[in-house]
């Protein structure tokens, strides 16, 4: 498969810079803000916000599949070392699971919206807090891959190519 990609640069990537962390902006921000708008909409009785959170959630769900596609390619080229191998495994597992979780969660929301867009049951908020928590765990794992282990950074890639890692 890898020979289908352009030659790798000093980030060990076939493109200029990691794309996965850019795409996840839209999963993280949209899913978390959807939960925020749901809570504010229920607490302040502003059902107009439910429409805002619905669209954000729908967008987050679409974006996570793009994030996974780039995440898989970049993970395959990441050459993780030490504990980063475990973290990358867990990050991958949670990532795929989140795609399923977000899809089901959004499907539930779609049904609720079709029935009555002005009403949101508390159970949806409860599950929403769990999904938000799972996203934050996933963010911390991804953070450790870059900010602790420096995967795809020029310094780590050159050390890897010199056989230092």
């Amino acid at each position: 498969m890898l020979e289908l990609l352009p030659p790798l640069n000093d980030h060990n990537l076939p493109w200029m810079d990691t794309i996965h962390p850019i795409v996840v902006h839209f999963v993280i921000a949209m899913a978390l803000v959807a939960f925020l708008f749901d809570v504010v909409g229920v607490v302040w009785r502003k059902p107009a916000l439910f429409e805002v959170s619905f669209w954000n959630l729908l967008f987050a769900t679409g974006a996570i599949f793009v994030a996974i596609i780039f995440g898989q390619v970049e993970a395959g080229l990441a050459a993780p070392y030490g504990a980063a191998r475990n973290i990358l495994d867990i990050h991958t597992t949670i990532g795929w699971s989140l795609a399923g979780v977000l899809s089901l969660f959004t499907a539930w929301r779609y049904v609720l919206r079709n029935r009555d867009p002005e009403v949101l049951p508390l159970s949806f908020l409860g599950v929403g807090s769990l999904v938000s928590g799972l996203i934050m765990v996933q963010v911390v794992l991804g953070d450790r891959l870059i900010w602790t282990y420096g995967l795809h950074t020029v310094k780590v890639v050159s050390a890897m190519r010199e056989g230092l890692i």
């Binding site: 980030h11 993280i28 803000v33 919206r113 079709n114 420096g150």
Partner: protein, 215 residues
């Protein structure tokens, strides 16, 4: 009385060290007093919210064209709903971005770009960091201005109109996509090329063996 209050005041108002030195004593291998940087995480919110806010206002503005397409989908839409996303996402973006910039400046205080590196843009570490800092403040100012502008359109100038935003607002938003894209690339270079606040990069620079330093 006086002999009791004086030492207390002395304790409260004359710290033994300047705050910067107190921070310096607690820095880890990543150059921060905590394990993961905060600014890059808040950036997710700033960028995601800004882009989706403008995108949904574009969808709301082009509603007459796309309503025929949406009719074929089992997805009820309202034009006001799209513009609500445009407004509320921009509002939250504006509020969050103050913290994004604040965290960025705090973390810049202890940032050490790897020496002797030139970025893909041909800039040095300190130059890249200065550009990222100065343009970051400018981007925040523009986001605040656009939020105020958006609020006036929504609640005053275009309150009774179907299209809640001016074309100029959308044009400025799309130009900002490019500015934020370039600006974010500078930030990404600070991490991936200059190793700022990345433990592995800083440890390698210090000559450590990652087999033992980051098992």
């Amino acid at each position: 009385m006086d002999c009791i209050t004086t030492p207390l005041l002395a304790l409260a108002y004359t710290p033994e060290q300047a705050p910067l030195e107190q921070i310096a004593a607690e820095l880890g291998a990543n150059g921060l007093p905590y394990s993961l940087p905060i600014h890059p995480n808040l950036v997710h919110l700033t960028i995601g919210l800004f882009v989706i806010a403008i995108a949904f206002d574009v969808v709301g503005a082009l509603y007459p064209l796309e309503k025929r397409v949406f009719r074929f989908l089992a997805l009820p839409i309202t034009r006001g709903g799209f513009h609500d996303v445009g407004w509320y996402n921009m509002l939250v973006c504006c509020l969050v971005s103050f913290f994004t910039v604040a965290a960025g400046f705090y973390e810049m205080l202890t940032a050490v770009p790897l020496p002797g590196v030139t970025s893909t843009f041909g800039l040095g570490g300190m130059t890249t960091m200065l550009w990222h800092g100065v343009v970051g403040v400018l981007v925040l100012a523009i986001i605040v201005a656009m939020t105020v502008w958006r609020g006036f359109q929504r609640y005053a100038w275009r309150r009774d109109m179907g299209r809640q935003v001016q074309w100029l607002y959308l044009a400025v938003g799309v130009v900002m996509f490019a500015v934020i894209g370039l600006h974010g690339t500078l930030g990404a270079q600070l991490a991936a090329e200059f190793g700022v606040h990345i433990a592995a990069d800083q440890l390698l620079q210090a000559g450590a063996d990652l087999h033992t330093a980051l098992p």
